[in-house]
Symmetry: C2
Subunit: 214 residues, 2 copies
């Protein structure tokens, strides 16, 4: 069965939302409760969750603990994923320092760079290796996910090395559309800026008028 | 009219996709063409664009140049937005160095930090000011968007200062749910990791089995 991409993106949101309900000690929630917290329609929530089987009971709602476990299993975060960051520049360093990743079961086990000055040092307690050792260390450290945080021109080459090394998937921060046969998730920060711009204009219709008069 | 959030997010994708068609010299595209490039259903594309009026002609498709201009106007990227980054650490530095922002009409005009060591220096050619000057400089530099790239504990306080300064919207990289009355767009990088994890498991069903046996 083909699950629509937006549904997959929302699963992670449901997982986060349900986890919060669990922390709050809530036992059952309705699709309406979930929808309200996430600013979605209840029918959307029911439809999304129905792709993965029937978790809800009419009148009672969803069993929070059961649904959290089920979502963790579906998303694949009932295990810890070993992550390597390629590129120990500002972005790679920011990611290595980001506590949210491990909290969500993504453990950065290594950084890689081609700058010999950086190799052998540690960033946020994580060792920096030479990118030439990626293939060897992918096996030794059981690296499953690579984060591409290198300059645009190096991105495709690094992706090919990662794939050859046996990495299972890539989180790509470069603006390059990577050609690989393993799953890639592109992180495009400018999309967030554009969504914000739209929401600002909606909240400030007088700005729209000024722009059009420019 | 209330436009669904996922539609708004997709508008930026349509804009990018259509821009590429324009660069390629394509004059007309169908909803099917757009849908294929973005891995969506053609019916979804038609529905999303219909919220903003009828741009397509039956049999001929969408006029690329007209649709790009229309989308730019709707999203609000037919003007350059002045952006300030609060927090000149690794993340703030990475963002200041990111050429994609200006390419998409978001111009970083200032960085702010509370570290006196950093104030007065430049990062990627952009001056670093003390966060205490945010209110004054928001007026002087016409700052419209603030990026919050400060540690979690400082995020809410910084958001309040930005709002008081008259900033129109916030791109928030902290994991804090900000309380403001101006629009906020949260950037949650772990969602990308979770989507990737799901896609890896789908591509490697044997992994799922191993996880369940753990």
């Amino acid at each position: 069965m083909k699950i629509p991409k937006p549904t997959i993106k929302r699963l992670a949101l449901y997982y986060r939302c349900l986890n919060r309900y669990r922390e709050e000690g809530v036992n059952f929630v309705s699709s309406k409760d979930i929808a309200e917290r996430l600013n979605l329609k209840p029918s959307q929530v029911r439809k999304d969750l129905s792709y993965f089987g029937e978790f809800g009971k009419r009148g009672l709602g969803y069993n929070v603990v059961k649904l959290v476990d089920e979502l963790a299993r579906i998303i694949g975060v009932n295990k810890v994923w070993n992550v390597a960051i390629i590129g120990a520049g500002n972005l790679g360093t920011a990611l290595a320092n980001y506590p949210g990743l491990l909290k969500h079961k993504f453990k950065v086990v290594a950084l890689f760079d081609n700058d010999r000055e950086k190799v052998g040092k540690k960033i946020a307690g994580i060792p920096v290796f030479h990118v030439g050792d990626l293939i060897r260390l992918t096996q030794e450290l059981n690296i499953e996910i690579c984060v591409i945080a290198v300059p645009e021109l190096a991105a495709q080459r690094v992706a090919e090395i990662a794939e050859e090394a046996g990495v299972k998937g890539i989180v790509n921060f470069s603006p390059v559309k990577l050609r690989t046969s393993i799953p890639v998730e592109d992180v495009d920060i400018t999309l967030s800026f554009e969504t914000l711009a739209y929401n600002i204009l909606k909240a400030n219709p007088e700005m729209l008028k000024l722009i059009e008069e420019q």
